[in-house]
């Protein structure tokens, strides 16, 4: 070792201690984790309960030998268990849940895997019987159903700096039928479906992808410094959250970048409404059908204030909105699940929000095609709730 190397070594090792300013790092980190779980990689992730025609799929599967398809387990991995009135637990290893093609789709960790791998499981939405199961590689955190495919994505963080997008053909069970898109150094923010294509935010750009070949056909940068997260399709437009303080409208044409909304906390789709959070993240805003006009005027259809930041919002078929809040970082308010009722015009009632459950950190929620709502909590528990 040279003198300079020795000097560097001794200098680094003799560096004085640093007195951190934060006296309770656990509380600070925990609070940010709760927020990140909801906002990172999805903003306000909302799911509209659209019941599409069920795709007829054979219930038995053949292993293609590709190593990624796992034969369906003929019996449920765990019988649903009622834990409190109206709630039934159906998994303890879940990461996310979505619905599509008449089925429920769950992302689950493989407790035996030492490389973080897991499964995408297709479930009977009424009985939770696993119908088929695919292997997924880490990282996987979020998923959405669209264009007959299940889109699974994750990464872009310190543990997995490279984003991973895995696409599964929901109608074909006899092979891998998946494509994987890595994006070195960038995570994926969100996915929306419009005009027969998938729109994927990644890095500081948005990709247009086809469903048939799952390839990128168009890519557009959204400006230096933008970190697009949520993207939703509402009113025939794409709405992209390009920064924590604004949502940008992007018409699906290469030159069609339009209005900006001065809202933070992500955007979410609710049929023809747009759901978004305000600057303090505690207010949920809904727009009417004329999203563009309301976004430019700033006069929204309704707004509802919660006791802590809004994490997820999901529009139910009757117009009501389920909202999960994150709780405050100082612990004065706990994460909770709320129901906000809607009038015929889609405005949410300010004074009649109802707390459904307290001390629940919801990572993912979806309207079950068979009725009710399914949740995944941050401890891996997946529950069904029948209002």
């Amino acid at each position: 070792m040279t003198d300079i190397e020795e000097l560097v070594r001794s200098s680094l090792r003799s560096a004085p201690a640093v007195v951190p300013s934060s006296s309770d790092p656990v509380a600070a980190v925990s609070g940010r984790v709760r927020r990140a779980r909801a906002l990172w990689g999805g903003g306000i992730a909302a799911v509209v309960a659209v019941l599409v025609a069920a795709i007829v799929v054979p219930l038995s599967m053949r292993d293609s030998g590709a190593g990624r398809v796992v034969p369906a387990d003929p019996s449920p991995s765990a019988s649903p268990v009622a834990v409190r009135p109206g709630l039934t637990v159906w998994s303890h290893d879940a990461v996310a849940v979505t619905a599509g093609g008449g089925f429920l789709w769950a992302l689950e960790r493989d407790p035996k895997a030492n490389d973080g791998a897991g499964f995408l499981v297709k479930l009977d939405p009424a009985t939770y019987r696993p119908l088929s199961r695919w292997g997924v590689v880490a990282p996987y955190d979020f998923m959405k159903f669209g264009l007959g495919h299940v889109w699974v994505w994750g990464g872009g963080d310190g543990g997995y700096p490279d984003g991973e997008l895995q696409v599964f053909d929901a109608s074909t069970n006899d092979g891998c039928q998946c494509n994987t898109f890595g994006n070195k150094g960038f995570g994926y923010g969100g996915i929306a479906f419009l005009a027969g294509h998938a729109w994927v935010t990644t890095g500081s750009a948005i990709w247009e992808m086809t469903a048939d070949t799952e390839r990128v056909v168009w890519s557009k940068g959204l400006g230096n410094g933008s970190t697009p997260s949520t993207v939703v399709a509402v009113g025939g437009r794409l709405w992209v959250q390009t920064s924590p303080t604004s949502s940008q409208q992007l018409i699906p044409e290469p030159s069609g970048v339009g209005a900006r909304m001065g809202l933070s906390g992500g955007v979410a789709d609710g049929t023809e409404r747009l759901l978004a959070a305000d600057g303090a993240d505690t207010m949920l805003v809904t727009t009417g059908t004329d999203v563009e006009q309301q976004s430019s005027s700033g006069e929204f259809l309704s707004d509802v204030i919660f006791d802590s930041a809004v994490g997820l919002a999901m529009a139910l078929p009757n117009g009501d909105v389920l909202v999960s809040t994150l709780g405050s970082e100082d612990g004065r308010t706990q994460p909770a699940l709320w129901m906000a009722t809607s009038d015929a015009a889609g405005a949410l009632c300010r004074t009649c929000i109802r707390k459904i459950a307290e001390n629940v950190s919801v990572l993912s929620m979806v309207a079950n095609p068979s009725g009710g709502v399914d949740f995944v909590l941050d401890d891996g528990t997946a529950e069904h709730w029948q209002p």
Partner: protein
């Protein structure tokens, strides 16, 4: 947050902030860097293999966060306008020399600084350092060489010139 991770954070917080300070040269930015890294580790906790000793995983997240300019707020680095004096050979001077090196580290690009911290503070091999940084061993070698040359130039300018 998992109890083991909470215990780890409580016990290692000052040490992690010190580590990050050496990487970025600023204690305030270091805290943000460590918090961001811990958030990412907490989100990935189910996938962390050694849950009883996540030090390697956390430090990797800190280093990568620093290099990739992860979403945390990046403050402008403080440039040391006046180079430290060259040390003379006595005990006090040795302290100054160490201080001069640490101050000079701030002038290095993030990747070069990370290479030095990983190689000389953590005692990682070139292969391990490459794996941590997500680059080739050749890059580690060249970055180390450039970083040391730059430090030598800063703290021992006459020697370099001669």
């Amino acid at each position: 947050m998992d109890a083991r991770l909470s215990d780890y954070v409580r016990g290692q917080w000052p040490s992690l902030v010190r580590y990050a300070t050496l990487l970025c040269g600023d204690a305030v930015e270091a805290e943000e860097l460590v918090q961001s890294a811990l958030v990412r580790v907490a989100l990935r906790w189910p996938f962390v293999h050694d849950k009883d000793n996540p030090d390697g995983y956390v430090k990797r997240a800190i280093v990568r966060g620093r290099i990739n300019g992860w979403r945390g707020v990046r403050r402008h680095e403080t440039v040391v306008s006046v180079m430290p004096d060259v040390a003379v050979a006595d005990g006090l001077a040795a302290l100054d020399e160490h201080d001069a090196i640490r101050r000079a580290l701030v002038l290095l690009p993030p990747r070069q600084r990370a290479v030095l911290v990983l190689r000389y503070l953590d005692d990682r091999s070139e292969q391990e350092t490459a794996a941590m940084l997500g680059c080739s061993v050749g890059t580690v070698k060249s970055q180390t060489h450039k970083a040391l040359a730059k430090l030598r130039e800063i703290v021992q300018p006459n020697e370099v010139l001669s």
